[in-house]
C-alpha cells in the first residue's frame, strides 16, 4: 500500500463544504427579517470516485453552488393580488373624502342647506306677508348656492389630488421599471456564467411586487432569467433590459392626466393607477350629479318663483341667477339672483296679481324638496331622495372597496405565509443547520488529524 494523500483532499473538501454551510446559514440568519429574502442552501454532491485497485472510492464532497428556495408561482400570485389591493386601497383612500364631503356635518353640508332652504319657504307659506321671512329665504338660498359651490369645490380638489397622485405614481413606475430592466440584464449575465444571483433576484422580486401594486403588471419569467412585465392589453412595461416609459399628459377640458406607454395609450387592469383612475371617474360622476341637481333645483325653483308675484304685487323674477349666454347652471356657478339678495321683498310667495299675499307659490316651492317629480340627470325622484342616493352611492363605493380590501389583505396574508413556508427563514432550522455543519467541520478536522497521524506513522517507519 502506498501513502495515500487523497485523505487530505477529502478532508479539505469536507472542511470547505462545512464552512460554506456555516456561511450560508449565517447569511440566512442575518436576513431573517429582510423583506423578500429567500433562504439559501448549499448544494452538496459527493465527488465521483477514482478507481483504485478495482474499487471505486469516493473523493469526498463537492460544493455545487448556492441556491435559493423560491416558488415562482406563489410569488407571481402575491404580485397579482397586491395589484388588486393597490387598486382597492387607492379607490378607498380617494373616495372616502368624497363621501365625507357629500355627507356634510350635523349642521353643515348640502343636505342641511337643502332642508333649511325649502323649510324657509314653508315658513313663508304660513306667513306670506313677512319681509323678515323673505330675508331668511334669501339668506338660505345664498347658503344653498354656496353649499353647492363648496361641495363641488371639495370634489374637484379630491379629483385634482388624485390626479397629482397619478403623476407621482407614473414617475415611481418609470423609476422601478428601469431598475427592473437593469436587474434583468445583470441576472441574465450572472446566469450565463453560473454565478449566485439570489440577491439580485430577491431585489428584483421586491421591485416587481412594488410595481405590481402600482400598475397591476403581470410578470413572466423567461428562460434566460429575465422577467417580462406587461400591463393592460398586453403592452410590455419591461422586456429584457428594455423599460418602456409611462407619461402622464394633461388632457382638456379639466387638465386631468392621460397615461401613455411609449406614446401609445396605456390601460391598467389593476394596481394603484387603475384605482386612482376609477376614483377620478367616480368623483367626476359625483360632480356631474351635483351639477345636474343644481341645474334641476334652479330650473324648478325659478319656474315657480317667476310664476308668482313678489311682496309688492309685481311679477316674480328668477330666484337663482341664470348664467348669461345660455351656459348651463352647475353646482359651481349656482348663485342667488343679485336683485333678490339686494331686496328680499322680491321673494315670491303669492300667486295673486296684487299687493298682499297668499302663500301658494311659497308652499309649492317648499314642496319641491320632497316632490317625487324632479328629474336629475337620469334619476327621477325628489331632490331629497336623489341627493340621498348620491350619498348612498359614494358610501357604497367606499364600503365595497373597504370590504374587498379586507378580503384582499387576507388573501395576500395567506399567499405570503405560503411563500414564507418555502422561502422564509426559520431560526430553529438554521440553528440545526449550524449544529450540523459545525459537527461536520469537527468531524472533518478530526479526520484530517487522523490522516495526518497515519502519515506520521508511515513516515516514522522510514527513520
Amino acid at each position: 500500500m502506498s501513502i495515500n494523500f487523497s485523505a487530505f483532499e477529502i478532508g479539505r473538501r469536507a472542511l470547505n463544504a462545512a464552512s460554506y454551510g456555516v456561511t450560508v446559514t449565517g447569511q440566512n440568519i442575518s436576513n431573517v427579517n429582510t423583506p423578500g429574502y429567500s433562504r439559501q442552501y448549499v448544494q452538496l454532491a459527493d465527488a465521483a470516485g477514482t478507481n483504485i485497485s478495482g474499487f471505486a472510492i469516493g473523493n469526498g464532497v463537492t460544493v455545487q453552488g448556492v441556491q435559493a428556495f423560491r416558488d415562482r408561482f406563489i410569488e407571481s400570485r402575491i404580485n397579482t393580488e397586491t395589484g388588486v389591493a393597490g387598486r382597492l386601497s387607492a379607490q378607498r383612500d380617494t373616495l372616502s373624502p368624497v363621501e365625507t364631503a357629500l355627507q356634510g356635518t350635523d349642521n353643515g353640508g348640502l343636505q342641511n342647506a337643502l332642508n333649511s332652504y325649502f323649510g324657509a319657504f314653508r315658513d313663508l307659506d304660513a306667513n306670506p306677508n313677512s319681509t323678515a321671512l323673505r330675508s331668511i329665504v334669501a339668506q338660505r338660498g345664498a347658503n344653498l348656492a354656496s353649499s353647492f359651490n363648496s361641495t363641488r369645490g371639495q370634489l374637484g380638489q379630491i379629483q385634482r389630488g388624485a390626479d397629482e397622485q397619478v403623476r407621482d405614481t407614473v414617475d415611481q413606475v418609470n423609476g422601478l421599471s428601469s431598475q427592473i430592466a437593469q436587474l434583468n440584464s445583470r441576472i441574465k449575465g450572472a446566469d450565463a456564467i453560473g454565478e449566485n444571483d439570489s440577491a439580485l433576484r430577491d431585489q428584483r422580486g421586491q421591485l416587481i411586487n412594488q410595481i405590481s401594486e402600482l400598475t397591476g403588471a403581470r410578470s413572466t419569467e423567461n428562460s434566460d432569467g429575465t422577467v417580462t412585465l406587461t400591463i393592460g392589453e398586453g403592452r410590455a412595461l419591461v422586456s429584457g433590459d428594455q423599460a418602456a416609459t409611462l407619461r402622464a399628459t394633461s388632457t382638456p377640458p379639466l387638465g386631468l392626466s392621460t397615461i401613455t406607454i411609449d406614446d401609445q395609450p396605456a390601460t391598467f387592469d389593476e394596481g394603484r393607477l387603475r384605482g386612482l383612475q376609477n376614483a377620478i371617474t367616480e368623483t367626476g360622476s359625483q360632480i356631474d350629479n351635483l351639477d345636474s341637481l343644481a341645474a334641476s333645483v334652479v330650473d324648478r325653483v325659478n319656474t315657480l318663483h317667476s310664476s308668482g308675484t313678489d311682496q309688492d304685487g309685481n311679477a316674480g323674477t328668477n330666484f337663482f341667477a341664470v348664467p348669461a349666454g345660455g351656459q348651463p347652471v352647475t353646482a359651481a356657478n349656482i348663485s342667488l339672483n343679485p336683485a333678490i339678495s339686494g331686496n328680499p321683498r322680491l321673494v315670491v310667495a303669492s300667486s295673486l296679481n296684487q299687493p298682499g299675499q297668499s302663500g301658494t307659490v311659497a308652499g309649492q316651492i317648499a314642496g319641491l324638496l320632497t316632490d317625487p317629480g324632479s328629474t336629475v340627470g337620469t334619476r327621477t325622484g325628489s331632490f331629497s331622495s336623489i341627493y340621498g342616493s348620491f350619498v348612498a352611492e359614494a358610501g357604497e363605493q367606499v364600503s365595497s372597496a373597504n370590504n374587498n380590501l379586507e378580503t384582499q389583505a387576507a388573501i395576500i396574508a395567506q399567499a405570503t405565509t405560503q411563500r414564507d413556508a418555502v422561502s422564509g427563514v426559520s431560526l430553529d432550522e438554521e440553528a440545526i443547520n449550524l449544529l450540523q455543519y459545525q459537527k461536520a467541520y469537527d468531524a472533518a478536522a478530526r479526520f484530517i488529524k487522523i490522516a495526518d497521524e497515519m502519515t506520521q506513522t508511515i513516515l516514522s517507519l522510514a527513520q
Partner: protein
C-alpha cells in the same frame, strides 16, 4: 407546513393591527352613540336615515305652519267672540228705538251708543294680528274698511290658505271682513249709520221706523253670518290642533325609526369593546413573550 420567523411576526402584526382598528370602530360608535358614522358604514341605512331626517325637517316646517295657522285662527276666534255681544247689544238698542214709548231724548242716547258700538266694530274689523290685518285675507295693503268713512277697501280679497300637513289640502287660516261684516247688499257700518240717523230722526217718522225695522232684519243676517264664520273658525282650530298633535307623534315615530337604524346598540357595543380589548391584550401578551428559538438553548 414550515413556519418561518418572518411569517410569525407579520401574522402577529396583522392581528394586532386588525384588533386595533376594530377597537377604533367600536370606540367611535360608543363616543358618537351611532352605528352609522359615515355613509360607508351602511350605505342603505345612511340613505334611509337621510330620508327620515328630511321628512322630520318637513314635518317640523308643517308644525310651524300649523302653529302659525292656529295662532291666527285663535286671534280670529277672540275677535269674533268680542264682536258677538256687541251685535246682541245693538239688536236690543234698535228694538228699544222701535218701541213707541221711547222718548226722542232716549232715542238720541241710543243713537250715541250705537255710534260708539259701530266704532268698536270698525276697530275689530280693522284689527291687526302682528303685521297683518286679521280680516284682511290676501289683501294686506289697506285696512278692510276705511277707518274714517268705513267704506270697504277697493282691492278684492280672498281667504289665506296654508298647508299644514304633508299631502293634505291647504286650510283657510282666517276669514275676510267681507264675509263677516257685510254681504253683497250692504255692510254693517252703512246699516248702523242709517239706523243712528233714523233714531235721531230725519223728519219722516214712517221712513225712520222702516229704516230701523230694516236694520233689525239686517242684524239677524249679520248674526247668521257671524255664526257661520265662527263655526268655520272653530273647525279650523280643531284641525290645526289635531294636525299639531299628529305632526308631533309623526316626528317622534320618525325619530324612533331613524334611531333604530343609525344608533348603536350600547350594551352590545360595550360588550364587543370589552371582548376586543381582551383579545388584543392576549395578542399583545403573546407578542411580548420572548419568542425562543433553538439558538437560546445552545450554549
Amino acid at each position: 407546513m414550515r413556519v418561518s420567523d418572518a411569517s410569525v411576526n407579520s401574522d402577529l402584526a396583522a392581528r394586532i393591527g386588525a384588533q386595533r382598528s376594530r377597537l377604533g370602530v367600536l370606540q367611535e360608535r360608543l363616543a358618537s352613540g351611532k352605528r352609522i358614522n359615515r355613509p360607508s358604514d351602511d350605505p342603505a341605512g345612511a340613505d334611509a336615515v337621510l330620508r327620515l331626517r328630511t321628512s322630520q325637517n318637513e314635518i317640523e316646517g308643517f308644525g310651524r305652519s300649523a302653529k302659525a295657522a292656529n295662532q291666527r285662527l285663535t286671534a280670529t276666534d277672540d275677535a269674533l267672540q268680542s264682536y258677538e255681544p256687541i251685535l246682541e247689544r245693538i239688536r236690543s238698542l234698535v228694538t228699544q228705538g222701535l218701541t213707541d214709548t221711547t222718548t226722542q231724548d232716549a232715542k238720541n242716547a241710543l243713537a250715541t251708543e250705537l255710534d260708539s258700538l259701530r266704532g268698536r266694530i270698525l276697530n275689530i274689523a280693522n284689527s291687526k294680528n302682528g303685521e297683518e290685518y286679521l280680516f284682511g285675507g290676501t289683501r294686506q295693503n289697506a285696512p278692510p274698511f276705511d277707518p274714517v268713512t268705513a267704506v270697504p277697501a277697493a282691492t278684492p280679497t280672498g281667504a289665506q290658505y296654508v298647508q299644514i300637513e304633508p299631502g293634505a289640502n291647504a286650510i283657510a287660516t282666517g276669514v275676510t271682513a267681507e264675509t263677516v261684516f257685510g254681504d253683497s247688499s250692504s255692510t254693517i257700518f252703512a246699516d248702523l249709520a242709517a239706523a243712528a240717523q233714523a233714531l235721531r230722526g230725519t223728519g219722516d217718522p214712517v221712513a225712520d221706523r222702516a229704516t230701523l225695522q230694516n236694520t233689525n232684519s239686517r242684524l239677524i243676517v249679520y248674526t247668521g253670518l257671524t255664526n257661520v264664520v265662527h263655526a268655520k273658525v272653530g273647525a279650523g282650530l280643531n284641525t290645526t290642533e289635531s294636525a299639531q298633535d299628529k305632526l308631533k307623534s309623526d316626528f317622534l315615530s320618525l325619530n324612533e325609526r331613524a334611531s333604530s337604524i343609525e344608533d348603536a346598540d350600547f350594551a352590545a357595543t360595550a360588550l364587543d369593546l370589552t371582548q376586543t380589548e381582551r383579545s388584543l391584550d392576549a395578542t399583545l401578551q403573546v407578542a411580548g413573550r420572548q419568542h425562543r428559538s433553538l439558538l437560546d438553548f445552545l450554549s
